[in-house]
Amino acid sequence: MNVSFVAIICYLLGISAVVGLNAVILVWLERKVAGHMQFRYGPMEVGPHGLLQTLADGIKLVSKQLVIPDKADKPLFLLAPVVSLVPIFAAMMPLPLSESVQAWELNIGLLFIIALGLLNTLGILLAGWGSNNKYALLGGSRAVAQILAYKIPLLISVMTIIMMSGSYSLRDIVLAQNHGWYVLYQPLLFIVYITAITLETNRSPFDFSEAESELVAGFHTEYSGMGFSLFFLAEYSYMFIAAALASILFLGGWQGPWLPGPVWSLIKIYGIIFLLMWFRWTFPRLRIDQMLSLGWKILLPITLVNFLVTAGVLAL
């Protein structure tokens, strides 16, 4: 780890820029995708085709008062969005966009990102508990209930990939796909993985912790202004990380003909994000117990069987 202090600062600044820009683009993209799937245009007023709408919204949110409920647990209430957002800066460090564009080549990068991803749930739980609101509490408890249901299939599918590539390093995993992307070998696992990251990023059809027709706004019911926008930022950044992992694990990361590596990476990442948006604007929400049985009764057996079969094939 011969990364100098200055380099870390530079990378953090770069990551902040990626986080901010990514959120601006994704919010705009989400609204455009939603609009066009629903016979609407989406934002059109601020900037060409509403490109600057997110910026305008961001300025509005920042300038708003942060209302703290009287009976809320103030430290937790204020800490929750921060707990949600901060791990993202760390989690983005080991993500390679190409062979050379990577903040920190970490030999256990995959585990590092997955471990930090759990902190998002902690943020949601803190928000739900600290708000002292029944809807928020239900949202927070739902987020915790769903962790196990998706983390175990997720981890097993990641383990399968690790077994195939023989490395925890994201860079090595991509390089191991020189002869063929893993999605070609493991299409079923790819579907499971996409389902799991939909769950992980709390997006419809699994947006239990903020189910707006049931829990008003779930864990962020009481948040306004900056607190709310931090959660928003965190949500879209987690989407970016999850999609980047999916592209690295299954779609060969930056590999692709003609175009340079980072472009391929971004195309794949945003392709997967578009898929997640497509899910969101198509499906109704599951019920919480149905999600649990989906996780335990469908995803887990698939990944386990797949794991054993892969192990057997590799051993031969």
Binding site: M37, F39, Y41, W281, T282
Partner: protein, 149 residues
């Protein structure tokens, strides 16, 4: 056997999701139905019921209203106030004050139908906006017409 059914169910369920995704993807290639107001406007139908207005007589440009108060009496919301006088030398009464409280009006059109001389009609004015309520709770409908008084 149970497991076989279970797997088939899962696979069928998965394909039903793809069918739904096809529909939303298809939607993306349909031209949006939004009308970008105010740059575009939707056509107003011929029978559009805006707030009521006074019709002038074709020749004299005086209001046709004869101040019979049929509209005011039939109005379910009591939002019309009308008074009339007889100008010197005229046979009929003419309205000298016709005030509509548009904040109460439910746009049912009973006043227009009950008018015996056809002095009332719906305007096609739909983009109503004002800074205060006063602009609408005392709308003087005789304003634009030539007064006989």
């Amino acid at each position: 056997m149970m497991d076989c059914c279970h797997i088939r169910e899962v696979v069928q369920g998965f394909f039903s999701l793809l069918v739904g995704m096809r529909v939303t993807m298809g939607n993306m290639f349909v031209k949006p139905h939004t009308v970008q107001w105010p740059r575009e406007t939707a056509p107003l139908p011929p029978g559009f019921r805006g707030h009521i207005m006074m019709l002038p007589d074709e020749i004299t440009r005086y209001p046709k209203c004869i101040a019979c108060t049929a509209c005011a009496r039939n109005c379910p919301s009591q939002c019309i106030t009308v008074t009339g006088r007889k100008p010197a030398g005229a046979k009929k009464k003419l309205a000298d004050c016709f005030v509509l409280d548009f904040t109460k009006c439910s746009l049912c059109g009973i006043c227009v139908e009950s008018c015996p001389v056809g002095a009332l009609d719906f305007s096609r004015d739909y983009a109503l906006a004002a800074y205060s309520k006063d602009d609408f709770n005392r709308m003087n409908l005789l304003e634009d017409l030539v007064s006989p008084f």
